[in-house]
């Protein structure tokens, strides 16, 4: 590695940092500890200064050990404050973060004094991030930490997952939840501290949070999330240092990460905003369509098995449709061969009737069920009307059907009607 140019070293270094902070950051975010990275980063400053004062060099390993010491002290302080005083966790983090940072600023200005012999510029890298100072030895340190952290995650993946998801259950199975939690924190601390000289105190928090939060948009599996977060972290590191050559490295890396986050926020499948709006829109359209068919069925129910010819005004009056919405729905229904339409009248086709009868039946079953059996569970997530047959036990379903039949409200599904050419209901989401 000794033959590497500075730009190559920077690339490798930022990529390593991005990758490992993405992976360990995922656990921090899922555990609700996103801002612990922020605190560790701030609390590291006095440690860096002290280590410099004691050792008199800018050796990354020495400074990192100093940072680690005060970082862990800060974590202990927050834990102690929350445990023993009435100060809440948020305030405790704020207090420790700012007080430690204040102490760091004080020490920095001591170092700056002539006679102490410190050149402040060297330590300033810790504040703002100076990957330009990176030495080959620093790369070894980064790689070493990355190896340790990634191996820890790989070895304890199962355990970490369990502790993050359900601590009580994990403890009931006998896992040492406190130790596992500490292991995650320790890994987080390591990553934060070796990352400081690259991205700086404030933006280190972003390295922990951004890739993880971004990855969460793309997957529902933890291991995929870890891989993606690592990938996004690497991408942010590489792209950021390339695109933002003239800007402070930390800021350009974080902005790149933020751009990836923004893109994911908008365009990720399922969890992205666009996709969720689309889903919402389709759902609404489907519900409107079903309302129309049910309305048509109910209006003509008394004349069955004849297919009633209905007037537009009747339909409008039944549901208070907005004229434009209704027109659009009717067009769709005609296209789907559910209704026949003349100037004045609307008539269900046999295919449409069958579909409408099915919808009405399901709806009435649900209605009955919700009125009579679901008084405890106001749980509307289940009400995907198509699923009624799968969700309710057979016996209950038969009982509900019988009840509807007794009231004369059970729609008959005429079996000889040919199946809908469009295979209705395939577009449910």
């Amino acid at each position: 590695m000794t033959g590497l140019a500075l730009s190559e070293k920077i690339m490798i270094g930022t990529a390593l940092l991005g990758g490992m902070s993405g992976v360990i950051g995922s656990f921090a975010v899922l555990r609700g500890r996103s801002l612990v990275g922020d605190m560790l980063a701030h609390a590291a400053l006095p440690g860096v200064c002290l280590a410099f004062l004691l050792l008199g060099t800018r050796n990354l390993l020495g400074l990192s050990l100093g940072a680690l010491a005060t970082g862990l002290l800060a974590v202990a302080a927050v834990t102690g404050i929350v445990r023993w005083t009435r100060t809440k966790e948020d305030a405790a983090i704020g207090i420790v973060l700012s007080t430690f940072f204040g102490a760091g600023v004080v020490l920095l200005s001591v170092i700056q004094k002539p006679g102490v012999g410190g050149n402040k510029a060297g330590l300033n890298g810790y504040l703002f991030g100076e990957p330009g100072n990176m030495l080959t030895g620093d790369l070894y340190l980064l790689a070493g930490v990355a190896f340790v952290v990634l191996m820890t995650v790989a070895l304890f993946f199962k355990e970490f997952q369990l502790v993050c998801f359900d601590t009580d259950f994990a403890q009931s199975q006998g896992w040492p939840t406190l130790l596992l939690d500490l292991a995650i924190m320790a890994a987080l601390a390591l990553v934060t501290i070796v990352g400081l000289p690259i991205v700086g105190v404030i933006l280190m928090a972003a390295m922990i949070i951004l890739p993880a939060a971004t990855a969460r948009f793309w997957t529902n599996r933890l291991h995929v999330m870890l891989l993606l977060a690592g990938g996004f972290g690497i991408a942010a590191g590489l792209l950021g240092t390339q695109l933002g050559r003239n800007y402070p490295a930390g800021a350009s890396i974080v902005l790149t990460g933020a751009a990836i986050f923004l893109f994911s926020l908008l365009f990720a499948p399922q969890r992205g905003m666009v996709s969720r709006l689309m889903t919402e829109f389709r759902l609404r359209r489907r519900i409107a369509r079903e309302h129309l068919l049910r309305s048509l069925y109910e209006l003509g129910e008394s004349q069955l098995p004849e297919l009633a010819e209905l007037h537009l005004e009747q339909i409008v009056a039944d549901r208070y449709w907005k004229p434009r919405t209704l027109e659009r729905l009717l067009d769709i229904a005609v296209d789907s061969n559910w209704i026949k339409r003349t100037d004045q009248t609307i008539q269900l086709t046999p295919v449409g009737l069958r579909h409408a009868a099915e919808l009405t039946k399901t709806h009435r079953l649900w209605e009955l069920y919700l009125m009579q059996h679901a008084d405890i569970a106001a749980d509307h997530v289940d009400r995907d009307a198509d699923e009624v047959e799968h969700l309710l036990p057979e016996s209950l379903l038969l009982q509900l059907q019988q009840q509807l039949a007794d009231e004369g409200r059970l729609p008959l599904i005429i079996s000889e009607v040919p199946k809908s050419p469009h295979e209705i209901g395939t577009d449910n989401t």
Binding site: Q173, H373, A374, D379
Partner: protein, 254 residues
Amino acid sequence: MGTTAFEIHDMTVAYHRRPVLWDIDLQIPEGKLVGIVGPNGAGKTTLIKAALGLVPLASGKVEIYGQSYNQQRQIVGYVPQRESVDWDFPVTVRDVVLMGTYGQLGWFRRPGRVEREIADRCLQQVDMAPLANRQIRQLSGGQQQRVFLARALAQAARLYFLDEPFAGVDAATETAIVELLHTLRSTGKTVLVVHHDLQTVREYFDYVILLNMRLIACGPVESTFTQENLQKTYGGRLTLLDEAAEAMRIRESQ
């Protein structure tokens, strides 16, 4: 009476020195469905958590098949309250059920084919097999509860603790859970269930623990779930226990 599956001796549990359970002493024979019944704040969940070692005991001890919880943890299954976890966590239904096998797996070993088969079988038992690959957020309350049950089944335990499995679930899930409980009983398992609905106690359980800060009664439903005992549990005077507990708290914090 056959084997004793679960036993509490003289157990007192305190939060911040204020006792919430006083001197509980009870025995549960093997193979019973046990309802834990009592008003809000009676310490039902605390009883379970204390039994599982999740909250420290101020005094007394808990025994599972004659030994301490730590020695017997492999044969204990646990279904926490549904609200106790983040349902937006990035895991699928099958992942959650697999967690039930972690206890047996021990450190470092990953769940493999055998464990996946166990998980799928457990999911089938609660009628959730078709949803195995869904993310858990997309489940309804009742379905979430079934996933938790499947996870407990995957623990392959002999003694189960269920914390309010019927809270906020639909009628279908309630029926399914009851069927499952019966299946468990028929295979000799013992199940303790925190339960709220007095109407269904007789129907669902064969043993009952009546609890209100202290043990009111514990025994077979027919002889124990009586009007008199219920009166004691829900209407009975508790003021003395309450006042003593309050006095302890105040004296400690003065």
